[in-house]
Amino acid sequence: MSPLLDVRNLMTYFFTAAGLVKAVRGLEFTIDRGETLALVGESGCGKSVTALSLLRLVQPPGRVVEGELLFQGENLRRLPPNEMRRIRGNRISMVFQEPMTALNPVLTIGEQIAEVLRLHRAASRKEALTGAADLLQQVGISDPHLRLREYPHQLSGGMRQRVVIAMALACDPDLLIADEPTTALDVTIQAQIMDLLEQLKDQRRMATLLITHDLGIVAETADKVAIMNSGLIMEYAPTASLFRQPTHPYTQGLLACIPRLGEKRHRLPVIADRAATGRQAKGQSFLDGLSAPFAPVRNKLPPLVEIEPNHFVRCWRD
């Protein structure tokens, strides 16, 4: 069976006044129906640009310059704008990091959720409001009929994120893109939201592209993981395999440098070659910064190689 989403050689560049920034430099991954792929990396690695590229929401001076985005066999890059609008928010929807900026402050919660149903499902005003109340119930908001009449500022951060999730789920999408959905939330609320996403995903057999930097969240929710750096996937593997046998030096560094509960260490290991000086400056590759044994061929990118079934690594080192 073909995957739900098949991304082939995606490249998104930004043609800025200061020069060309290759934000995404040839990405390959697939997501099956009901599967969760976590896209992990630090700021500037291209993970959010990847999400925007999928939805064709990259703004100039940025542009998708290369690649195929096959969604249910159809290349999203080839779709005319009106058909893309039918997919966006309907078959593929998105949850953003900051719920306050994703919601319109001058419309009630009810109006905003109902809008999705009226637009994509051609529901009547009344049907849409009933549907909205139903969705609020599903995302764990009590007194939904009361809440429908409230404005975003009247809700807490966790409640707002639940509303955003309700909007994203309104049309029962096949793919949910969640870009740091809990980063702005406190830890107890984060746990509630992740739990909710997990539950809804299971009920609906919905696939998820989860963009995050939190390796704890990855370990608890993802089926497979892509570790990104400088616009490229460095390692791509089933979650268990990646945590058991991290192979790329960058993955190893990321896993080593986080403090873990119940594990007191004297010092935190630091990722090689990124210490102190500004190697992480935009556009510069992690590969450029690696010391000799890791990248003996400096001018050429190492290919993504399958080291064991479904576990891929981009590294010259054996």
Binding site: E42, S43, S156, G157, G158, M159, D186, V187, T188, I189, Q190, A191, Q192, M194, D195, H213, D214, L215, G216, I217, V218, A219, E220, T239, A240, F243, R244, G253, L254, L255, C257, I258, P259, R260, L261, G262, K264, R265, R267, L268, P269, V270, I271, R274, A275, A276, T277, G278, Q280, A281
Partner: protein, 330 residues
């Protein structure tokens, strides 16, 4: 040994503005009578969720905010009784590191001026000696000589945080309040800055109040940890004890909520229900009782005192001895 700093019944309230139609001004008790000590050379971690009053606590200690009540004893002397003028020499001793390395550096000042300014203000150095001292400080925090004439926008987040640390170290303080110093940073940068904070602590014999919401980072860096909920300290203990066997249900719930970076320990989590109540209207009795799995009638009536539950482990819970029943298996 005499503590470096002792806080007694510190309180700070804010008043909400009345609405457009008038009405009652509401009192928000951001810090509601907290007491703790900082021992010389230790790191006390202060954790809690947004709005629990941890940042207000940090600012009030340094008198960046004036507390409403309580005492702050620095080397045994209540600094709240000092005038603004006599406070100044003491400010040398107490510095702050801020969360946002983008907002806490003046974009129009060169790095040399940012780091040198406290030295000038406190008349500790001038001219050539000042530049020498700034260069030495930049070296201490892992920056280069060439950086001295650059502007903040030329640096990454991690480097800016290093500049903030150099500025705090310039006047040779004994106490540093670090308010979420690594939470805006990427993982790999976070590790570097945590290491740097530990290095300079040893080198300059610093005492830290480390305010953060990331429980793993706090465990890593702290000797002791205080947990705050709605303006009050609910638990205070040695870091190892508190993380191994929390004695307050809220601490237990916080620890349960942290996702573990280990797929083999994936588990059915015991989730804390509901959200923190508004600090404008804290619940009667124990503030935590509406969300607490251990709560009983007594909890609805009476706020528990922060009491020693054995071996100096303080917790404010009527049923502290029972806590642990709802801990996630690890």
């Amino acid at each position: 040994m005499e503590p470096l700093l002792e806080v007694r019944d510190l309180a700070k309230s804010f008043f909400s503005a009345p609405g457009p139609l008038g009405g009652q001004r509401q009192i928000l008790k951001a810090v509601d009578g907290i007491s703790f000590t900082l021992r010389r050379g230790e790191t006390l971690g202060l954790v809690g969720e947004s709005g629990c009053g941890k940042s207000t606590t940090g600012k009030t200690l340094l008198r960046l905010l004036e507390p409403d009540a309580g005492a702050v004893l620095f080397r045994g002397e209540n600094i709240l009784q000092r005038s603004a003028r006599t406070m100044r020499p003491l400010r040398r001793e107490m510095q702050m590191i801020f969360q946002d390395p983008y907002a806490s550096l003046n974009p129009r000042q060169r790095i040399g001026d940012i780091v040198g300014e406290p030295l000038r203000i406190h008349r500790l150095a001038k001219g050539r000696a000042l530049r020498q001292e700034v260069l030495r400080l930049l070296g201490t925090v892992g920056l280069n000589k060439e950086h001295i004439d650059r502007y903040p926008h030329e640096f990454s987040g991690g480097q800016r945080q290093r500049i903030g640390i150099a500025r705090a170290l310039a006047v040779r303080p004994s106490l540093i309040v670090a308010d979420e110093p690594v939470s805006a940073l990427d993982l790999s940068i976070q590790a570097q800055v945590v290491n740097l904070l530990q290095d300079v602590q040893e080198q300059f014999e610093l005492t830290y109040l480390f305010i953060a919401h990331d429980l793993s980072v706090v465990e890593h860096i702290s000797d002791r940890v205080a947990v705050m909920y709605l303006g009050r300290i609910v638990e205070l203990a040695d870091a190892t004890d508190l993380y191994r066997a929390p004695r307050h249900p809220y601490s237990e719930a916080l620890l349960n909520a942290v996702p573990l970076p280990d797929p083999e320990r994936r588990r059915a989590r015991r989730l804390l229900q509901g959200e923190p109540p508004s600090p404008l209207t804290p619940p009667r009795g124990c503030h935590f009782h509406p969300r607490c799995p251990y709560a009983r009638d007594l909890c609805r009536e009476q706020y528990p005192v922060l009491a020693d539950q054995g071996a100096g482990h303080l917790a404010a819970c009527h049923f502290s001895a029972e806590v642990g029943r709802f801990r996630n298996p690890s």
